[in-house]
Point group: C2
Chain length 394, copies 2
């Protein structure tokens, strides 16, 4: 990593500078819209949907929402993580000891997208990459990381175990550490997607109107804080979204208590969001209040949003990528804000679709059908077809 | 349906005229490219992949292929079928008895995409639609058809059963029949995607070079024959692709014997391609030789191509939509043609991605993991992580 003494200040111009450094290496990913999802978000939830939620019995909110999906699932390596990885390497290149660094290589620990991202960035720059991955990482991600030419070293799953292996490698090889999220260079790199999203929405709206707000997923918080920096001073509000399962909503709980939560142990299906928010991102999210509010969603809400993106947008995304959409569709606190503050005008709402790295087997498992349900869905229903159809439509 | 005496001649200018009639009602769907798939198609298959195929022991072909995917999965109702449905209705509107027709409505039988397509077209034009669907149709398709305001009437699955119900409805209501594929107006409507694809590739190549060939899926043959008409006189070669499972490759077998096969009973996963080729499409495909050759692919090849599109292109498509890609990747007869005829220059090859209507449950079932395999894929492997990764990468 570039020396912390030399990192650019955490402000919007540094995100713009980061974009100039990396744009030749990344995809300018598309921004998509979808009428069906706009209609769904702009219709009050039914009382039966709200039963069993914290908002049971309340009058459902009636916001007007126009979505702008920033599709980082179409990014290189299938996720936004290449932005931070390329930026970190480019900043390293500006340091004097570059020749030495490029001989010794870089090292990181990551169970997924950051691993592939750093492997690609290192190969592009001609630097050896050592990637420490937990043994339980998704095999397709391990294979992809190796496919980009990195050396993969296995470790246990806890951060203590991972970091011990990283330390060993640094001692053996002299490799420089590129952490997955907790560093200014990574935050500034990830934030470049926020700049593009702002520019694209303005352009698609014929230069007449930009975004009102953005919701971004929050795991380690590198991307969320970067997006917040990209919006500083623009008037665009930034919100964060997390899974609530097994305490994965550490950033939300931390903001509520005023103290960062440093450990999380969750197996939420949003596997990119299992990490606690990092110290540097926290300074942007909490200390500087650049993220207005955090929201959390349930596993079922994540699955429902995932199904909508797959079946309606015909787009493959990973569960972590839809927590923002799930918030806008299902979280009454968020929906109430939009209704109260925007009224009939509604909001142009940017949704960061963070990645698309999910295997067909994992998708299959998420939407597994029980034998009884399978029978109905196969239409094995004798002659009572009308009834089947109604079951499904309802 | 418009009177057959009045249908336009089956030639390219009629496809252009059809496009002018329908373009305000349909999406101009994107054409996408993908480097990974180009590389894969332009690499010889391994001997082990070819073992057990008709090409076992032969030297694998070494073609150069650049794909251009015409993405009709992003079309309205998620499939190309809206093109034919809108064209058929627009042509009806040109007939004198329109007011009467619009009062009596239209009728068709379809288990899937044509049902939704006609329902949407009819609602847009303000015409009642009666859709006869087999009881075993996918419930989501039934629900979607009803969602577009059509009246759904259930029938048995055989064509005799379906047609009997259609006949009843025509007698009761006076509704006009809009068949799913076997009519010139439908063929000309579907062919409009071929025009767009030609135009888009030329544009994306900077006006310097257009397509060399197109592969399109063939079920009833309405779309394949329409695409062939759209290419007549352009020098672009047109090929058709079918599943081979349980005789679904009726068009291929018919071309080989010189006689159209009129009945097919198959449960190929490519559920849009279970119908035999129709009489009108046959005149274009066979009699006028506008389709150069038909190819068939196995269920496993369809699944492999589907996985690549889902995981690499991050795009949701239905199994029927990938038979063209599967042909280009896996069929040595086709690959040999490209190698021999194009050499190092290679082919710019259009792939018609016909639709994206598949439920997450259906996808899950297609890629179900066996318990043993699941355990490996979950990474429950003790300390031998390195070995797991190699299994997966291999």
């Amino acid at each position: 990593m570039a020396d912390l003494a030399n990192t650019p200040p955490l402000e919007r111009p540094s995100v713009i500078a980061a974009h100039a450094l990396i744009k030749e290496h990344i995809h300018y990913t598309p921004v998509l819209t979808n009428t069906t999802l706009n209609d769904l978000a702009s219709t009050p939830q039914s009382a039966s949907t709200l039963a069993g939620t914290p908002w049971a019995g309340q009058k459902p909110a009636n916001p007007k929402i126009r979505f702008w999906f920033k599709c980082e699932n179409f990014q290189k390596v299938g996720a936004f993580k290449v932005r931070g990885a390329f930026h970190a390497l480019k900043r390293l290149m500006a340091e004097e000891a570059w020749e030495e660094i490029s001989a010794r290589g870089v090292v990181t620990h990551s169970s997924g997208n950051h691993a592939q991202a750093l492997a690609l960035a290192a190969r592009t720059m001609g630097v050896p990459a050592h990637i420490v991955m937990p043994t339980i990482s998704t095999p397709s991600k391990i294979a992809a990381t190796k496919g980009y030419g990195a050396t993969v070293i296995f470790s246990g799953s806890t951060s203590t175990e991972r970091e011990a292996v990283v330390k060993d490698i640094m001692q053996q090889t002299g490799a420089r550490l590129i952490p997955p999220y907790d560093h200014p260079d990574i935050m500034l790199g990830q934030g470049t997607l926020g700049l593009e999203l702002q520019e694209q929405v303005l352009q698609m709206n014929g230069g007449m109107k930009g975004l009102d707000a953005i919701i971004a997923p929050c795991g380690g918080g590198g991307m969320l804080s970067g997006v917040a920096l990209s919006c500083e001073g623009t008037g665009i509000q930034v919100f964060g979204a997390e899974p609530e399962f097994e305490g994965a909503d550490d950033c939300k709980r931390g903001l509520e208590s005023g103290k960062r939560i440093e450990t999380v142990k969750t197996l939420t299906i949003a596997d990119g969001l299992r990490t606690p928010v990092g110290a540097y991102p926290w300074t942007v999210i909490h200390d500087r209040k650049l993220v207005r509010q955090m929201f959390s969603v349930t596993e079922e809400q994540i699955k429902a949003a995932l199904r909508l993106v797959l079946e309606r947008m015909k787009m493959v995304v990973e569960p972590s990528a839809v927590v923002g959409l799930a918030t806008a569709l299902f979280n009454e606190d968020f929906r109430g804000i939009v209704e109260r503050e925007a009224g009939d005008k509604g909001w142009d709402l940017g949704i960061v679709v963070s990645g698309g790295n999910v295997s067909v087997e994992a998708l299959g498992k998420m939407f597994e059908v029980s034998p009884a349900k399978a029978e109905r869905q196969e239409g094995k229903v004798g002659k009572d077809g009308e009834k089947v159809a109604e079951n499904v439509a309802g």
